[in-house]
């Protein structure tokens, strides 16, 4: 027990924060530049997982369980979102036989 705790602290906290921020930015860029609905969706999931990593890092550095509890909530909610999101994408595919978001331009004035 005693020997394991210092292992976490050999990597400074700021490294985790930077890694999570980089993953998060990759997710944002993915949402903004990709045209395939599934890939945009994957990028959103990447953003959520970057947040999970950040929360777990903070949580274990402070030995405070609240952050890890929050991660469980995020995972559960993300699963619900996946269910609804994939249903919407399937619904669109049935109607236009494609999931390219640039084909969806009926709602422009």
């Amino acid at each position: 027990m005693q020997s394991q705790i210092p292992d976490i602290f050999q990597i400074p906290l700021i490294n985790y924060v930077l890694l999570a921020s980089i993953l998060f930015i990759i997710g944002i860029v993915g949402v903004l530049i990709r045209r395939n609905a599934i890939i945009i969706f994957m990028s959103v999931e990447l953003m959520l997982n970057a947040v999970n990593l950040l929360l777990v890092a903070f949580s274990s550095y402070r030995s405070d369980p609240a952050g890890q509890v929050f991660v469980f909530f995020i995972m559960a909610v993300a699963a619900a979102e996946v269910a609804v999101g994939l249903a919407i994408i399937v619904m669109i595919y049935r109607n236009i036989r494609s999931i390219d978001v640039s084909l969806l331009d009926k709602l422009k004035w």
């Binding site: 959103v44 947040v51 509890v69 979102e81």
Partner: protein, 464 residues
């Protein structure tokens, strides 16, 4: 707090009612359930307290916000006619999802912990994604659902990143504890986490209430979604979103006013400019109301900018006035456009209102009063709503913001009068519209509410 329990159970009951052969029971049952939730809301009145291990807090302000949400939901459900007109509709599921989404909305009004804010936002948003796409055969509805879903989950990601950063700064999700920590002197990297956290959290929430520059999904989603759910979105979601923004800023971040007010004021002014200028060019009534909804988000942000102990009341009054007027406007649109199909969809152009005063004088009056209230003409509720938020902004000395806001509400008068002119001055085709007594009562109530609050604005202010 009790409405959460009531609606969670009744939502499930509604799903089971869907097994019955007759779909006629669903509407009265759902209205009854929401009414029970509305009454149970007041058990906590004048008895503020924390619930569920400090997860939720009931205060009088949060009870009033929940009441507005439940009242709007009741009126919207009543206007739906039980979805009996549409053979492809799934009324039991729609009513159940509406009730579940109310659970999320009420969590957003009285959260005490960021976990509850996140869960509430997600319950409300995921329900709205489903309802936006509920018309499965309609390609515009599909498009709206996908846009709403992708933008909404993107916003959720940003909001969560903000929450994680706040956790890194404060090591607590409790918003009252976070405030105590904010009042202490800061050390090392904490301010960076704190500033990033507040910024991202606010961006995520402002996305949900569609304040510019995060508004670009709003017109498309409002136009593509079935009108009944657009009404729900523009009243319930907006009220809940502003309740959450006000709560987090007031309870937790008010010591950081000097940091966030610049951001909020920029967004308020951008919302007012972009929405009012763009709304002038709109041909579609629904799209115009979408831009109007963005501009009202801008006005409500003014109350947040002038954060003081009265601005919660101002947001309450404004959301009530806005909800009543919006429900009347969308209600009229739903009745008028129902039988005028273009490409298999109801015609929602402003031109569809032509000659409404001859076809149905009652609807024309309802429309005129709702438009006057949205424009903020005196003797309607909208005027006092604007008056209070402007007073709040002035109390912090932001006079130049007021000048811009008043200029923009003058621009607003131009496009709010277009439907009134169409209804009263133009000649229209089509036969007279016959209204059921039920519709008359509901629209009469919303209109009477708008006028009553316009004549006696103190009714709500004294309640708090």
């Amino acid at each position: 707090m009790y409405p959460i329990l009531v609606l969670s159970v009744t939502g499930l009951v509604t799903l089971f009612l869907g097994f019955l052969k007759s779909k006629k029971i669903l509407l009265p049952a759902s209205l009854l359930f929401v009414a029970i939730a509305f009454l149970s809301n007041f058990i906590d009145w004048n008895a503020p307290g924390l619930y569920f291990y400090d997860m939720l807090e009931a205060t009088n302000l949060s009870i009033i916000f929940s009441s507005i949400i439940l009242l709007s939901a009741f009126l919207v459900m009543a206007l739906s006619k039980g979805f009996l007109d549409d053979e492809h509709a799934q009324p039991a599921e729609y009513f159940a999802i509406l009730q579940f989404s109310l659970v999320g909305a009420i969590m957003m009004t009285n959260f005490q912990n960021l976990i509850m804010l996140f869960v509430g936002v997600e319950i409300l948003s995921v329900s709205m994604y489903i309802l936006t796409g509920s018309d499965k055969r309609n390609i515009r509805g599909n498009e709206a659902a996908l846009k709403y879903f992708l933008m909404g989950s993107f916003a959720t990601g940003i909001m969560l990143f903000g929450m994680a950063m706040l956790y890194g700064a404060n090591y607590t999700f409790n918003i009252s504890d976070a405030r105590i920590l904010l009042l202490q002197p800061v050390t090392d990297v904490r301010p960076v986490f704190l500033y990033v956290g507040v910024t991202f959290l606010l961006i995520g929430l402002l996305f949900k209430v569609s304040a510019a520059p995060f508004h670009f999904w709003t017109p498309d989603v409002y136009e593509g979604a079935p009108t009944i759910f657009t009404t729900f979105m523009s009243t319930v979601v907006k009220t809940a979103g502003f309740a959450a923004i006000y709560r987090i800023l007031e309870v937790s971040f008010s010591p950081m006013y000097n940091f966030w007010w610049v951001m909020i004021v920029t967004m308020a002014i951008l919302s007012l400019f972009i929405s009012n200028i763009t709304a002038i060019a709109q041909q579609s009534f629904k799209r115009m109301l979408a831009f109007s909804s963005i501009s009202h988000a801008g006005y409500m942000l003014l109350a947040v900018v002038g954060l003081n102990n009265k601005s919660g009341d101002s947001i309450v009054f404004y959301s009530l006035a806005y909800a009543l007027a919006t429900i009347s406007a969308f209600g009229v649109l739903m009745i008028v456009s129902k039988d005028r199909l273009v490409d298999g969809r109801p015609n929602e152009n402003i031109a569809v209102l032509n000659g409404l005063s001859k076809k149905s004088p009652f609807l024309a009056v309802v429309l005129a009063i709702s438009m006057l209230s949205l424009a903020g003409i005196p003797l309607t509720a909208g005027f006092w709503g604007k008056f209070y938020v402007f007073t709040d902004a002035a109390s912090r000395g932001h006079i130049w913001v007021l000048v811009i806001a008043i200029m923009m509400s003058a621009v607003g008068i131009y496009y709010y009068f277009k439907p009134i002119i169409a209804a009263y001055m133009k000649e229209g085709e089509g036969e007279n519209i016959r209204l059921s007594a039920f519709y008359k009562i509901i629209l009469g109530l919303t209109t009477a509410g708008s006028i009553l609050l316009g004549l006696f604005p103190d009714l709500i202010r004294e309640l708090l």
